[in-house]
């Protein structure tokens, strides 16, 4: 009976938390700041969330592209189809790995930092002091970070895919000797802008929004102690990763499923 009660409590807590995060999101999206105030704040966050994440995105994209080139060549050469390695790398990156891995890396690098930063601002009463100065922290602190994540992830995913394709080319063409014309030609012929590239962009937009929402909400809602910040940061990475992987399946089924 106690276990049942505990399960019920957990369910209620989850529903309450979802409700709070929904109200929080409505509060963030509902408030509109003057462009002259909001734009500099957004640019600052784009730099710290987006530009400073470039290094990890570029390095990861390069290695993942190289691995895809190597694996693709090994598998495809068994069937004499190594010329298709370019299209395999491009489709894999544009449709799946670009948006998904970028979102996972974003959650680990920028999402956790966002949560910790906002959580620390809450713990040190900076958010409260802002409120008491007549400044809404949802507009001043949260909204620029949410929008910056929303904008940065699709751009980072595009960078990831481009660098990954280049890494695959390095291995496939420069190292393993696949004919360069086949590599690029097959890729161009098989990758569709609407069904592949655009769907990949839609995925990364959704992932960017969800990861940023989770990160800022966890920071804002955390228990204002060092333990609370630590727990919120962990939750950001775990929830974001699970949300990205779960949503990826749903979106893939909707976009590419042939039911």
């Amino acid at each position: 009976m106690e276990k049942l009660a505990a399960l019920g409590r957990l369910g209620l807590e989850i529903i309450a938390s979802l409700g709070r995060s929904g109200r929080f999101l409505a509060g963030v999206l509902g408030g509109v700041s003057k462009p002259s105030v909001a734009f500099p704040l957004l640019v600052k966050q784009l730099y710290s969330i987006g530009v400073l994440s470039l290094a990890i995105i570029v390095v990861s994209g390069l290695f993942i592209g190289m691995v895809l080139g190597l694996q693709g060549y090994t598998i495809l050469s068994d069937y004499g189809s190594e010329a298709a390695v370019g299209q395999m790398i491009a489709l894999t990156l544009v449709r799946e790995l670009g948006p998904v891995v970028t979102a996972l890396l974003f959650a680990g690098r920028a999402g956790s930092a966002l949560t910790a930063e906002i959580g620390l601002m809450k713990t040190t009463e900076q958010l409260s002091s802002m409120e008491m100065m007549g400044v809404d922290p949802l507009r001043r602190v949260i909204a620029p970070r949410l929008w910056a994540g929303f904008i940065a992830v699709p751009v980072l995913a595009a960078v990831f895919s481009v660098v990954g394709i280049w890494g695959g080319m390095l291995v496939g063409v420069e190292w393993l000797g696949v004919f360069e014309g086949s590599f690029w030609g097959n890729m161009q012929a098989s990758v569709s802008f609407t069904s592949d590239v655009l769907n990949g962009v839609i995925k990364s937009v959704v992932f960017g929004f969800v990861c940023s929402w989770i990160a800022v909400y966890q920071g804002y809602d955390c228990v204002p102690t060092s333990e609370g910040i630590s727990s919120a940061t962990t939750k950001t990475v775990v929830y974001s990763s699970l949300a990205v992987l779960g949503l990826d399946f749903v979106l893939t089924a909707v976009m590419f499923g042939d039911f």
Binding site: V37, T124, E125, Q126, S128, S129, E131, M132, M133, G134, V135, D136, R140
Partner: protein, 296 residues
């Protein structure tokens, strides 16, 4: 319980405010803040159970009480950061819990609050911290903002520290910068949350002087939450003691010192045992040590 304000026209001897000055100069002496039968519950615990309080305009009011009795919560209720379960909280004639978001934020522009931790923005310099409310709420030109910020920093004795970052400040300096920031917009009300906690004697003396001088020079209504009895009573015009969700005593410092309540006297003199017991409620001692017949 209803705290009266009429009896609080006499300031402490050390204070710079001349007794009855506000009345004599014809200034408005109506309460700036009124709490009427406020009930507030958090996490199933009743923090305030019908608290009524009037805080006079232009004077220093100290709200004292043991740790954990909800003194800071009271400030947050006044500032509209928390909403009471029932009762009214009126600040400058406006019922705070009923205000819409926009009106509440407009009202807060008339308030300044000094947080216990200072709550400075860690990514901004001292200068930028003080300039922050001016930049957000006014359209003043940069040279005027600079002049105002330097004047506020001069008032707290930290004009020379304008380029420092919050991490480079001592605890006392942090609170002084926070104080300069909270008066940047020349508020009508300033709330101090435990201003003396963790301060060395010199920093404490500086803060006492600043609170007193700001009150007298700017005519601010000051509300100070503290459990530092002597320091608070030395500068306030009026004080009340909160415990167990109620106001257990109130009046001028002299009235409080002569208060008949044992609980008030225990708090003011710091007696370890009394109506607030030394021992946390526990089972009979004999049970824990396995001795029959022994009890506490």
């Amino acid at each position: 319980m209803y705290a009266h304000i009429e009896g609080c026209s006499r300031p402490p001897e050390a204070g710079p405010v001349i007794p009855g000055r506000l009345l004599e100069t014809g200034m408005d002496t109506s309460p700036y803040i009124e709490l009427e039968d406020v009930v507030f519950t958090r996490s199933g615990r009743r923090i305030f159970d019908g608290v009524s309080l009037r805080i006079p305009r232009g004077k220093i009011t100290a709200i004292m009480g043991p740790s954990g009795t909800g003194k800071t919560t009271l400030l947050r209720l006044i500032g509209g950061q928390l909403r009471p379960d029932s009762g009214t909280i009126t600040v400058a004639g406006e019922n705070v819990p009923r205000l819409k978001r926009k009106a509440l934020y407009r009202l807060r522009e008339k308030m300044g609050m000094l947080f216990q931790s200072g709550a400075l923005f860690t990514d901004l310099s001292v200068f930028e911290n003080v300039a922050f409310p001016l930049r957000v709420h006014t359209a003043l030109p940069e040279d005027m903002i600079r002049d105002i910020v330097l004047m506020k920093l001069e008032a707290v004795g930290l004009r020379g520290a304008r380029e420092l970052m919050p991490a480079e400040l001592s605890g006392g300096m942090t609170r002084r910068v926070a104080l300069a920031r909270s008066i940047a917009l020349d508020p009508e009300l300033i709330m101090y949350d435990e201003p003396f906690t963790g301060q060395d004697p010199i920093a404490m003396g500086v803060l006492i002087k600043l609170i007193r001088d700001l009150n007298s020079s700017m005519g601010l209504t000051s509300v100070m939450v503290s459990h530092d009895v002597q320091e608070s009573l030395s500068i306030c015009h009026y004080a009340c003691i909160v415990a167990d969700g109620q106001v257990i005593g109130d009046g001028t410092p002299e009235e409080l010192r002569a208060h008949p309540s044992e609980r008030v006297q225990q708090f003011l003199h710091g007696h370890p045992d009394g109506p607030v017991p030394f021992h946390y409620p526990a089972a009979e001692a004999g049970q824990d040590w396995g001795i029959t017949g022994s009890s506490r």
